[in-house]
Subunit: 515 residues, 2 copies
């Protein structure tokens, strides 16, 4: 495994009249056996004198692998080979998450995150895209703030790790296609407007100095495969073995959008679609992010709804993982039936409330109370919305499998990417039919695979070869073109599914609880 | 033959929902068959939108060949393929000479030159090197002025050609090792001080923007082979067939320094040494550059010295080519003998003057008069100095041939580089023993081969491969290590040479004139 940045320490024989090779050639010759004909960045050449002589040729050079060759980007006095740091970033549309990596040991040194500064231009990505439409100054403004968040991140990492940011060599980023455009300063309009052609899906290594970042190396942005399948997903696939195995794998990342890849060592197909904001906020009056005050675990025991609240503070609302458990428990305890209809006879917590949007009366289930004693509830409409959302996720998987003439039995591994996939209770998610009912040991929760992918880029240069393989070999399927998509969607709007044969373990449990 | 910058015009099929490849990929795919996997400069990627769509995909892209791949550096609307301009430069220590090249036709469009701005820091290169010693601000100051002369050159070329400098894609430069350091902003001190190791002898392609030049491409600086064998010589060799032929070639460039390369398809050896300022200025009180007022041709007829003066103005002094003819004529007409001693009995123009330096009386030959009637002369001391200089040049060639166990008969081609080699009267130069007495058709005058070499770099990418061959395969010989060097030098301090057998045609002519 070769790291993206490599430090090499040497004690070179100083020049003599019989060996008056140039400083550059002296170093290049020393590197030749291991790295072939190296190049030097313009900055690196200018560092050579008087540094090499003052250091009496006890020097450390930093190399980076570029297209088919290595480039020397830094020359330092003495042995600095143990100081080889770079930054991995998941540039999310809401939050920028990062890890400082020690490439000499492969270890994480610190983590830091900050809000995406684009939020100033709108929570929705679309409003940010609109802001830059046909306006170069606006694009530069967002681009500049977007890049500056990388400086903020480095400041935070410096603070947390004690490792000076002067030691950071480069940055590797995973991000969706729009974020990639903002980072690189490209107009994202094409991503939004038909025919949905981005300016670029490849970014490679951009000199950090050219982006206004004072680090000697490069900003690497993971390639996108298409409009809706960004570098966050392509980078995320690095954390799987999807293309290495004969057995079929599913990679599913559910957030505001759902992205899905199915494949094995012979093929890769992908699909993506709006999953709705159900898994983040907005599905319910009380929907919220997984932060202090959010209900994240729900259990019904003896007809009573018990919840766990993040931070141990009074409840304010419910996050995506909480909703999944809530629905699963409501279903298993028959507070709702397969259509999601609330049954007030099953619990006194099911009451009639006024729909906050329509003003009409409807049923709702109270699962917690606010500090002031006001009830926190999930309404019949909320349930219907969420079932739409879970049906969409289910249908993406089902339709892509059908498209490839595969069945659930063919699935060897089912990778769950992203925060939701990591923190959701697997059994609950299967119970409501969000995920398929396959043996649980086939599921692999990946965590923040976009950030993990960026780490892999730093730790293993083979990663870029793999990502090129992913983008070159990925077939993108428009769900609109899948024959059974609408029928599948209809069939999935039921708990766990219209075809209960697809959910044998769920039905067994349900029947056992309700016999 | 592939030019360094290539323009390709396309009418691409615009994106559709079925073919929503990114703008970059759309172009890269079109280029693939001819150029393989191309890269895009960061600037070029940012040019794509909205340009491509506004141009309705009728676009021209500019590519440059880099290390093993092509890079797109410019995207323009419409068909600009007939506008493919780049600048060739010979960055001399006194004068910066340039040509604007049309790479679409291979033709020169205009020429321009300007003084080297470093002259402000001293006529002598050494004083410029001293100015920057251990002083980064001083280095930046000279570097910045050095680069700015390239802007000046481009302004002049724009003026002369009518082709806007906005159309210039890149610059290719031939220069000696010190000039290369100043252009690239590297400390040149190592070139001066033992063990004479420069910072770099390779420069490759430096992004013009990184040097503060507002052109989309690169500044290419020809590689040096060693301290004393700069990119002007390595580039100059491109104008020869030295490494392609079985027969041996000599490449000789005489200026303030003399540089010499001997070789064939099997080997290349080089030597260099101070030739003294004899060929430019300073050898005589009246020594001057080849400009208006300089005697450049001399003929003695019926005992009378006739001269030609550049510009047809009154004489002010004599240039190098004039000195060679003067000495040749003085010798053939026995005004001086083989040792260079003036014989006043041969001409009333040989008079006693006061040496301007020592104040002592000595003989001198008057060859012209200034506007006010004062005589312009060449003194006995001037003659002796010049014989030293011509002996040095002769001895470099003789010693390197001996070192290689070659004789004059083995010389297939004798390339004369530089202004002196181009304008000097060949017969006169042979007469005084500056050049060897070999068949005249073996001599090839190359003109400004450094500038011509820079042109070749622009016109044929194979040039960089050839230069790499030159630098990789050149053996540098220290004349101090050649056994016979001192003896050769002694033997050459005679007109034409102590061993008159080496100059059969000269002696035949001399004897015929003086029988």
């Amino acid at each position: 495994m070769t790291t993206q940045y490599i430090k090499k320490h040497f004690n070179l024989i100083p020049p003599t009249e019989d060996d008056a090779r140039s400083d550059r050639t002296r170093i290049a010759d020393e590197l030749y056996d291991e790295f072939g004909n190296v190049e030097f960045s313009y900055d690196a050449v200018r560092m050579l004198y008087p540094l090499c002589r003052e250091a009496e040729w006890d020097i450390t050079v930093t190399l980076v692998k570029k297209n088919g060759f290595y480039e020397v980007i830094l020359v330092e006095s003495g042995d600095t080979s143990a100081h080889c740091y770079a930054v991995a970033v998941d540039y999310g549309s809401t939050t920028v998450k990062s890890k400082l990596m020690d490439l000499a040991t492969g270890q994480e040194v610190a983590s830091a995150s900050c809000p995406n500064p684009q939020i100033e231009y709108g929570d929705e990505i679309l409003s940010r895209i609109f802001y830059t439409k046909d306006n170069y100054e606006h694009l530069q403004e967002i681009h500049s703030k977007t890049v500056n968040a990388l400086n903020t991140i480095m400041d935070l990492l410096e603070e947390k790790s004690g490792v000076s940011k002067k030691e950071y060599l480069g940055i590797a980023i995973g991000a969706n296609t729009t974020m990639c455009h903002f980072i690189a300063g490209l107009f994202p309009w094409g991503i939004f407007e038909t025919p949905y052609a981005p300016v670029s899906t490849e970014f490679d290594l951009i000199k950090a100095k050219d982006m206004g970042l004072d680090i000697p190396g490069y900003v690497y942005i993971a390639p996108s495969s298409a409009n809706y399948l960004g570098g966050d997903i392509i980078g995320g696939l690095l954390t799987t073995d999807i293309e290495k195995e004969e057995g079929y794998s599913v990679f599913l990342d559910i957030g505001t959008n759902g992205e899905l890849v199915i494949g094995n060592s012979h093929f890769l197909v992908a699909g993506a679609g709006a999953a709705g904001p159900a898994f983040e906020v907005g599905v319910s009056k009380f929907g919220m992010k997984a932060e202090d005050g959010a209900v994240n675990h729900v259990k019904i025991e003896d007809g009573k709804i018990n919840v766990e609240i993040i931070g141990g503070v009074p409840a304010k609302g419910i996050c995506g993982t909480g909703i999944v458990e809530l629905l699963s428990e409501l279903f298993l305890n028959r507070f709702i039936d397969g259509t999601g209809t609330l049954h007030p006879e099953m619990s006194e917590d099911i009451i009639t409330i006024q729909n906050p949007d329509s003003g009409e009366d409807e049923l709702a289930v109270i699962y917690a109370y606010e500090e002031d004693g006001d009830p926190i509830f999930f309404s019949q409409t909320d349930i219907e919305n969420f079932i739409q959302t879970k049906a969409a996720a289910h249908t993406m998987v089902a339709s892509l499998l059908e498209y490839m003439h595969l069945t659930l039995n063919d699935i060897h591994k089912f990778y769950l990417a992203g925060a939701f996939g990591t923190y959701v209770d697997l059994e609950s998610a299967i119970t409501i039919g969000l995920y398929p009912d396959i043996p649980r040991d086939r599921y692999v929760a990946l965590g923040n695979s976009s950030l993990e992918g960026a780490k892999r880029v730093l730790l293993d240069t083979e990663s870029t070869v793999r990502m090129k393989y992913f983008t070159d070999n990925m077939t993108y399927v428009q769900f609109g073109e899948v024959a059974m998509f609408v029928q599948n969607m209809m069939a999935a709007q039921f708990l766990p599914h219209t075809d209960t044969n697809l959910y044998p373990t769920v039905m067994e449990r349900y029947n056992k609880m309700n016999k």
